[in-house]
Structures are given as C-alpha cells and as structure tokens.
Symmetry: C2
Subunit: 151 residues, 2 copies
DNA sequence: CTAAAGCCTGACATTGACGTTAGAGTCAAG
DNA sequence: CTTGACTCTAACGTCAATGTCAGGCTTTAG
C-alpha cells in the first residue's frame, strides 16, 4: 500500500503520515525509487497514533507505546532494569492521563451547567455550583493556599 | 491585586496572564499609570482558564464559557434567538468534549495494558486486545461564528 | 532623593502538528 | 512514448500557548 492509499483509508493526510514517520511512529519500507510502502497493519497503527495524539499525549510517549503496538512485543527491553524504567515512565504518563481525564470530566460538567443556564432562562444570582476544576499541572511549584470559593 | 501577585497566587506566569487578557479571558481594570488591577475572584478565574485550556478546549469556547463564570450571568444574550444560538454552540463543544473524554479513556486503557505487559513478563503473541480507539476528528472549520478573536 | 523592584508595551523565539508550495522523479494507461 | 496522477524531498507558513528580551515608565523601600 502506498501513502495515498493509506491516507485514503485512514483519513490522515499524506503530510501527517510523513510527519508520523519523521517522529518515528511509522516505519514503512521503501521501494528502490523511494516510495513508501505500508502494511495492512499500518491502517490500525495510524488510527492508534491519531487517537493518542488527539489525547494530547506527549508524542514521545506515543512513540514508546507504539513500539509495542506495531510488531507485537519485539522491542520490550531485555534487562529487567530497563523494563522497569520504561514501565515507570509509562505509568507516570498513565497517571497524568487519569488526572487529565478527571479534569476534563469536571470541565464537561461545568460546560453542561452553563448550557443549561443559557437554555433555561434561569440565570438568577445562583452560581452554577462548584466545578472543582483541578488544574493538571506537571511540575510547577505552587505557593500559597489553593483555589477557594471567595463568595 | 497586581499582576505579580496574581501570578504568585495562581502559578500562572505573568506572561500567561497578559496573554489571557489578550484573548479576552481576563479583563482587569487599570490604574492611571496602566497597571493591571485584578480582583480576588480572578484567582478562581485563572484556575478555571488553566483547567479548560489544559483540557485543550478551543480557547474561543473557553472565552464563551468564561463570560458566564466571571461576573455571574451578566452577559447572557437578551434575545432568545441569540441565546439559542449560543447554547447550540456550547452544546456542540460539549458533545465534542464528551467524545474526547471517551477517546481518552480508551487511550488510558490501552496504555494501562501496555504498562501491564511491560511489567509482567507476559509478552506473548497475544495482542493487547482491541482498543477501539476512536479518533476525535473535527471538520476543518476555521472561522467560528461569534467567538471573537482579538487582533 | 535614589535605587531596586515591579510593571508596561512590543516584538521576536519556540514547540507541536500540521498545511502548502516548489521542483523533480516515478508509474500506469493510452 | 507521452501524459497525468502520484510520489519524493525540502522548505517555508501557521496557530496556540508561552518564553524571553529590550527599553522605558512607576512604585516602593531605605
């Protein structure tokens, strides 16, 4: 399968596919003339890539994860130490992702409340209620007491 | 409260606070000399902004949403038609957000599976199982309706 | 009063994740 | 063989969200 075909089948632009390769997320073989040749499995792979990127996962992590998705298991490090390190990295991202999802869910609720407010005429002094939207922050030191309701 | 204070209390850099203002997400009053003066409530507001941006919500939507969060309800359109249009816009974003969350949850599961694979030596030919990761794709729309952009 | 600290605007730099264009080679059909 | 569709690389453009720096006011502490 050539790049145009893969593009058509995945919905990803040709440019994106080349970009993914540039980032090490895809590794098509090449013909003598340099054309990229993709496998059937790459259709799946691209879907996963797009999914993970849309999730705003750091592309490095996507790359790590993808190594396992492509050709099965071939690239899991031999040394237990390496494996543990990798697992920890991924676990960290997993935790961040979890936080992020929770944050998004709170945002969604907030947004839903707003929509309801706008639809139903009820726009009285009653505040939408506590959204408790926790900010997902990687490693920023924070001074002082956190966000509270000041009213 | 001046910009440095707000920065310290929210963890957002001074630059970010000015940027949020540029985007219409904050609207501090100014002293005669031009210094920005923030209200106590802006601490909360910034937290929400950062939350929503970290959720990768389109900043236009964040802006729309924030209008309601700032001074309560003041800015809900009078005309039912305007209100309906706004509600629809927000509803659309709400739906997208829902999709996005679901996609993220699938990504998380996928990632969790990978972590498990790496930790436990089990890396046999058995694939991690279908992740069913649906890609969140928004049509190539650029010029939004009422979502005012500066500049 | 003076110097340091804080703030102002403006502008350029950066990082992803692409889009777009340009010039040139390649492949399949007529 | 020629044409047109497809592909290649290379490079510049863009947008959002920030960082950073410069040059010039303002405020505050001593």
């Amino acid at each position: 399968m050539r790049i145009g075909d893969l593009s058509a089948r995945t919905g990803a632009s040709v440019r994106m596919l080349r970009y993914y390769e540039e980032q090490g997320l895809l590794a098509p073989v090449r013909t003598d003339s340099g054309y990229r040749i993709y496998q059937e499995s790459d259709v799946d792979r691209v879907a996963r890539i797009r999914c993970m990127l849309s999730a705003a996962l750091p592309s490095g992590v996507v790359g790590e994860a993808l190594k396992f998705l492509l050709d099965g298991r071939a690239v899991i490090p031999d040394e237990p130490a390496d494996r543990a390190r990798l697992a920890d990295t991924l676990q960290g991202e997993l935790d961040l992702l979890t936080e992020k999802i929770e944050s998004l869910q709170r945002s969604r609720e907030l947004l839903a409340t707003i929509v309801a407010d706008v639809r139903g005429d009820v726009v009285g002094p009653g505040r939408p209620g506590d959204p408790g939207c926790a900010v997902v922050r990687r490693s920023v030191r924070k001074a002082g007491p956190a966000v509270g309701q000041t009213r």
